[in-house]
Every structure is written in C-alpha cells, then in structure tokens.
C-alpha cells in the first residue's frame, strides 16, 4: 500500500457565462503519511475544487488522484478519509450525540463518541437538537463528524470561517492533537497565520495553479515579507541584495524596493550602508499582494514565481 497521497496533473473547468472557467490548471502535489499540509490561497484560487477532486466529489477533466494507493471512492468506502467541507448543514430531528453516533456507525473503526464530543468541546450541547444550534456550534459538530470517523486522512476546507477567535484556537488545538496520532491532515485556508502556525508545509495556490510549495517558514519568508522602499539614487542592486534580511531588490527610477524576509535587520543594514537613503517606507506585503507578485502576468514575475517555486522544491 502506498504511503502517499498523490495529485497528478489535475485540471478542472466549469462552464461560466463568458465561456469556460479554468478553476484548476495542472495541480501536482504529493503528501506523505503523517504530514500536516496547508493549502493556502486567496478566494477563487481553486482550493475547494482541488479538495472536491481529492474527495472524489468531482471528476477531474484530466489528471489523477491517489489516496494511499487507492482511488478516492475506494478510500472513502474503506473509511480512510474524513472531511469537513466548506459548506453544509446538519440534518434535523436528532440530538448532537445521536448525529455523531449515526455517522460513527458508518465507519469501520470510529473513535468513541464520548471522546469526540469532549475533544471538540460539544459535550455540553450533546443533548440539544441539531436544528437549535448556533453557527459556531454547528461548525464544531461538523468537525466532530469528520473526527469521529477516525480517518487516516483528515481534510478540512476553510474550517474556521464561522468560528470566533476562541473557537478557532480550540479548533486548531484539537486538530493538532488529532494530527499527533500519526494522521495526515490537509486543510485549506486563506490565512497565512493559520498555515504558519498549524501546518508543517504550505502549498500556495493562485489562479488554479500551485505557485509555491515548501515548509511553512520558507513560505512565510517568501510571502509574509515586508518591503522597504527608499529613494536612493545610484545604489548597487547586487550590494543591496547582499544585505542581511533582504531577499530581493529592484530599482524603480530613483527609488529602490527591497523585499525583506527580516525587515528589522534589513533597515538597520540599509541605513548603516547608505545613510543618505530618504523617504523610507516599510510596508507589509500582504498575502494577496504576495500572490499577485507570484502570479503576475508579466514574464519577469512569472519567471520569478517559478524560480521561487523551484527553489522550494515544488
């Protein structure tokens, strides 16, 4: 039995009002058993479509999916996958405990229902009918339904969207506990912080493609960077690039723009080397901006994104 999850050459288009929308355009990812991987990207990047294909809910136009050596439907039939989809409600007229028991009964080796209720913090509402829950409670119950199946692979599609701050923290703590049992976890998110804090590895998606794939700290350095902009005529770009904390430099007229992994170190080094620098601005390159840079249509940006992806072993 293969110990990996393999997505190879996945493509999917949907019919849209202005012709086909290419939601996923050639996605290749391999995940080893026991890894916790974040699928990171802005809305519309193709994360949910990719997840639907991984789960066998959607047939790819091209490419293949293998979950520990099996097709998704086979893996699901054996109870190897548990998932919390991005949308979805609960059925009514059952208590929370009964609903979790109902789903548990479908799996070959479920976790104990009482344990899951406690793990997900819903033991207090176990007797309540499902139609009387708040949004956050519903989300916790949906998490419990995914966990109780005791899957080898846990898939979570933007799981914390309906949760408040405390709910999020509890959620990720539980996810970590579950992953620590040697389980494989894949979660989609558009928050860099979530990927950084809770995943070993992040796969960045934008416009239906993977633009970077690597350990979260590297991804964070790449897209979570700050930029320093300063007016500095005549500076050597190569020398600027060599400054500590600087990962890239370019010239815009009289100004220079430094992309920094560590902007604190970079600004000190810049001012030490070039005390004449003026009009200094330090800005956070948000995730959206980083994605834009990584996926911009101009050839330089594209090449840079590819080089970055290559450097990270994508």
């Amino acid at each position: 039995m293969s110990e990996r999850i393999e997505l190879r050459g996945l493509e999917k288009s949907f019919r849209g009002p202005q012709g086909p929308i290419r939601a996923v355009r050639g996605v290749d990812v391999g995940i080893a058993r026991g890894e916790t991987v974040a699928l990171l990207g802005p809305n519309g990047a193709g994360k949910s479509t990719t997840i639907d294909m991984l789960l066998g809910l959607l047939a790819p136009d091209a490419g293949s999916v293998s979950v520990f050596g099996r097709a998704p439907q086979q893996a699901i039939a054996r109870g190897a996958i548990g998932a919390m989809l991005q949308t979805g409600g609960l059925i009514r007229d059952l208590s929370v405990r009964e609903l979790v028991e109902m789903i548990a009964s479908l799996y070959p080796k479920p976790l104990a229902v009482a344990e899951v209720l406690e793990l997900t913090g819903i033991d207090g509402i176990a007797a309540q009918r499902t139609q009387k829950l708040s949004g956050g409670q519903t989300q916790r119950v949906r998490f419990a339904l995914a966990l109780v199946s005791n899957p080898e692979l846990l898939v979570l599609d933007e799981p914390t969207v309906a949760l408040d701050v405390e709910g999020r923290r509890d959620f990720w703590t539980t996810m970590r506990e579950f992953a620590a049992r040697g389980k494989t976890v894949l979660f989609a998110t558009h928050y860099l912080e979530e990927a950084d804090a809770y995943a070993d590895r992040a796969v960045l998606m934008a416009n239906g493609r993977i633009v970077a794939d690597g350990p979260t700290n590297e991804i964070k350095a790449m897209v979570g960077s700050r930029t320093i902009r300063a007016t500095l005529p005549g500076a050597e770009l190569a020398a600027l690039r060599a400054l500590p904390g600087v990962s890239g430099a370019e010239r815009r007229g009289e100004a220079i723009v430094l992309r920094c992994a560590d902007s604190d170190a970079a600004i000190l080094a810049l001012l030490a080397a070039h005390p004449q620098a003026r009009d200094i601005e330090i800005a956070a390159a948000g995730l959206e901006q980083a994605f834009l840079e990584l996926t911009s249509e101009d050839p330089a940006g594209e090449a840079e994104a590819q080089a970055a992806a290559k450097a990270l072993g994508a």
Partner: protein, 245 residues
C-alpha cells in the same frame, strides 16, 4: 459498519417530525371517516361489488401510502439542500444503502398509515378473513414500489421549496384518475385509462380482501412497467444530480 443503526436513526428522525407524522396519518383518516361513515350500510358501491367502508378504506389507504412513499423525496430534497448528501458521499455509506434506508423509512410510514385506516375500517364494520387482510396488504406493498422510485426521482429533481406541489399534485392526480377517491364506473375513457395507472391497482387490492381474486396479469405488468420506468428515471436523476454537486 452498522447500517442498521443508521436506519434506526433515520426512523427516529421521521417519528420526531411530529407535524409530518400526525398529518400524514390524520388527513386520510379524517376524510375516510367523513366519506365512509354516512355510507356505512352501502354493500355494493357503484357496482364494484365492494362495501362502501371497504372501498373507501382502501382508497384512502392508497392515498395515504402513496403520499408516505413519495415523501421520501421531500427528505432527499431537504438533505441535498442542507449539503448533507455531500457529507454522506464522503462516508462509506453507499448511495444504494442511502436510498434503501429512505425507501425502508417510507415503507414504515406507509404501513402505519395502512394500519390506521384498517382500524378505522374495522370500526365501520369492515370484517375480513385473516388471509384477506394479509393478501390485500401484500398487494399494496408491491403496488407501492413505483411510488418509492417516484419519490427518489422527485427528490433529486426538485428543491425543498418546489417539491411540495410536485408531490401533492402528482399523487392527487394519480389518485383521482386511479379511482382512489371514488369509483370510476365501468364505461368510458376514465376506467380504461385507469387500468394503466399504478394507483388503480392499489385500490384493486381491495378485491382480495373481500375474498376475490388478486391482480390479473395486466395489473402485475402495469406495476412492473411503472417500476422499471420510474427506477430508470430515479437513477438518471440521481446521476445528474451527483455529477454536478
């Protein structure tokens, strides 16, 4: 894996839906009592050879059981809209098992509906042999198969908002044309047409109860044909629906 437990919870949900539960049995019961009680001494209604309490008992039982079967479609439509169907598609529960549970639940509701009408009929003087009660019930159970397929089809084609009229209208039309509400007589176009409807043969099960013969070959063929056609429609609707979801 324990699908019995799953089915048990499904039954529990149906019973807990009180309004649905009470209305499905209460409505046919009340109309039956209103229609049959004043005619309780009519021994041969409209030349059918059946007493009025027996004819209307089976008529309203047919109506109640048809509704009970088709109602599985409403539950499917609601679960589709809630996204629950997707949740189940990523579980080891096979689509076959899912639909089987829905049909089983529908049959349970249908049998309760039947029982309620039988008790009401007996209270109005319907008295049959044990074999008569059982034979009649057996034919009705067979005659309801196409309605299970109809429910599944509607459940995958309609939304919870639009399925009500589709179900109510469909069952009322089939009931009216099949002689569920009143005998159709022996002459003209309507009695001829009725013989090609599954609802007609549900009502005809009453002849077994009165000691007569079961369905002729035509009845079995009509039920089999409706079952085949509606099952094909159900499979098509299911595939279309899940291919897109």
């Amino acid at each position: 894996m324990n699908q019995l437990l799953y089915t048990r919870f499904e039954l529990l949900r149906t019973v807990r839906n009180r309004r649905f539960f009470i209305l499905s049995f209460g409505f046919p019961l009340i109309i039956y009592l209103l229609v049959a009680a004043p005619n309780r001494h009519v021994h041969d209604i409209d030349g059918t050879g059946l007493s009025a309490p027996l004819y209307f008992m089976i008529g309203w039982a047919s109506f109640g059981t048809m509704n009970a079967m088709v109602a599985c479609g409403a539950r499917i439509a609601a679960e589709r809209q809630a996204g629950w169907t997707r949740q189940l598609r990523i579980s080891p529960l096979s689509p076959r098992a899912y639909l089987r549970t829905k049909v089983l639940t529908a049959y349970m509701m249908a049998l309760i509906s039947l029982l309620v009408l039988y008790v009401a009929g007996a209270s109005l003087g319907v008295s049959l042999s044990a074999g008569g009660w059982l034979g009649m019930t057996g034919l009705i159970i067979v005659g309801l198969i196409p309605f299970a397929a109809l429910g599944i089809t509607l459940g995958h084609l309609f939304t919870p908002d639009s399925i009500g009229p589709a179900m109510g209208g469909g069952v009322a039309l089939l009931g009216l044309l099949g002689g569920t509400f009143f005998p159709l007589g022996h002459h003209g176009f309507l009695p001829e047409l009725a013989q090609y409807l599954p609802s007609y043969w549900l009502v005809q099960a009453s002849h077994v109860g009165a000691g007569g013969h079961g369905w002729p070959a035509k009845g079995w063929i009509v039920i089999a044909a409706w079952t085949l056609v509606l099952s094909a429609a159900a499979i098509r609707a299911y595939r279309r629906d899940t291919g897109r979801v």
